[in-house]
């Protein structure tokens, strides 16, 4: 933590002109004058960084943010009973589940379906903006944030499964039947798009500005 000692200069594979294969881990050197090449072991198409990572991640992220609005405003479930038809959004589902005994599950749905997707979108936007601005601060925290988003993202799918199996089971016409409603498609789209965004982001971009600085100071 002390800033008096000069930071050790770590060479990155890119600084050494080497490709670390993302598929098989083999380290190889592209042909002289080339930036790209193929991995001699696994045949992966290699580049120093994922191609157009920032642009692709933004594209997925903006699409996810757009789908997030109908996902929360449109109903995800339609309940038909003898007395009429009810539509529930995700938030109404959380409220319905809230009871003296059911509140922990209600909390899981609230966190997984509402808080995680929005936190994911914000976190990825933060990572993209800081990477684009060449930030050298909080690198460890930023890569940890990336890993958290990567690890936690799949759990947002939980609401899709809740609605799927509620609808599959409650088919007791004319007494009561439950069917999925249009919001579910948008909600599933948010989860898939944010997962694709995480996959297209290259965490090495977080470190590139710092590596560049160290070289300049050396």
């Amino acid at each position: 933590m002390s800033s008096s000692a000069p930071a050790p200069i770590y060479p990155t594979a890119m600084q050494e002109g080497l490709h670390g294969c993302a598929v098989c881990g083999l380290i190889s050197r592209p042909a002289p004058g080339e930036d790209e090449g193929r991995c001699p072991r696994c045949d992966e198409d290699l580049a120093y960084r994922k191609r157009a990572s920032i642009q692709r991640t933004w594209a997925y992220l903006v699409s996810a943010a757009i789908c997030y609005i109908p996902a929360n405003l449109l109903p995800v479930l339609k309940t038909t009973t003898a007395t009429g038809t009810d539509y529930d959004t995700i938030m109404q589902g959380v409220v319905l589940l809230w009871s003296p005994t059911g509140w922990p599950l209600s909390l899981i749905v609230l966190v997984a379906s509402i808080m995680i997707p929005s936190a994911k979108i914000l976190a990825l936007a933060y990572l993209l903006i800081t990477a684009q601005r060449g930030s050298v601060q909080n690198n460890q925290q930023r890569v940890r944030l990336y890993r958290t988003v990567e690890f936690i993202g799949r759990w947002s799918m939980v609401d899709v499964f809740v609605d799927t199996f509620t609808a599959a089971l409650i088919q007791l016409q004319p007494l009561m039947s439950v069917a999925p409603a249009p919001g579910l498609l948008f909600f599933a789209a948010v989860v898939v798009l944010t997962m694709l965004a995480v996959e297209s982001f290259d965490p090495r971009l977080i470190w590139d500005a710092a590596s560049l600085k160290e070289v300049q100071h050396a």
Binding site: C24, S28, R38, C42, G102, F161, V162, F165, L172, P180
Partner: protein
Amino acid sequence: MSSQSYNEPVGDASLIVCQHCDLLQRLPELAPGASARCPRCDKELWRRREDSMNRTLALALAAAALYVIANSVPMLGLTIVGREASTTVLGGVETLWQDGQEIVAGLVFFTVILAPALQIGLMLAIVLGAIRAPAPRWVATLLRHHPTTGTWSMIEVMMLGVLIALVKIADYATVIPGVALFVLGALVFVLAAMQSSFDPCEVWEKIEWADEEARHNVSDGQMPSRT
């Protein structure tokens, strides 16, 4: 893109590049079960696993058996005023499809039926195909796509969703947890164990290279094994 030439491999097999920060470093000698972490970003670089291939094979076989059972018996049932209903995993997908949610039905099918099947099936093929060295090229093709199947295989998430659905339905009807529910619960742990016992590096070291000439150049300057 295919016109690109092959890179020249770096002979020193103890070097490793961190996938999360691109740091080039030398892998230390590791005791069994120990792992090396990147000093800069704390990413786990490699874990030395004991008897990885045999354990992975055993767990993949167990997972395959559990998977078949889980998908052939009912997962959930309910009774309400004398009427009964039950559903399998696939039944949930069918209902979504019939209700006009074809895309979501496809996604659910992919994440809880197709992706787990591929995750287990590819793993079996990879481990069996890599028994003898050099392993044929098709093992490389499967191994390269195997991580994707793991990303999209969401049985553990589905389990949580099913449990929440159970609690929701319990308000209106008597729910009967089916055999598949317990089998799926076991499968979640077997799959996790299978993934963590598998060491892709060990298989990659056995695989026939895309550019066989390069491999011979490397092995001339001896290729120290990591194990």
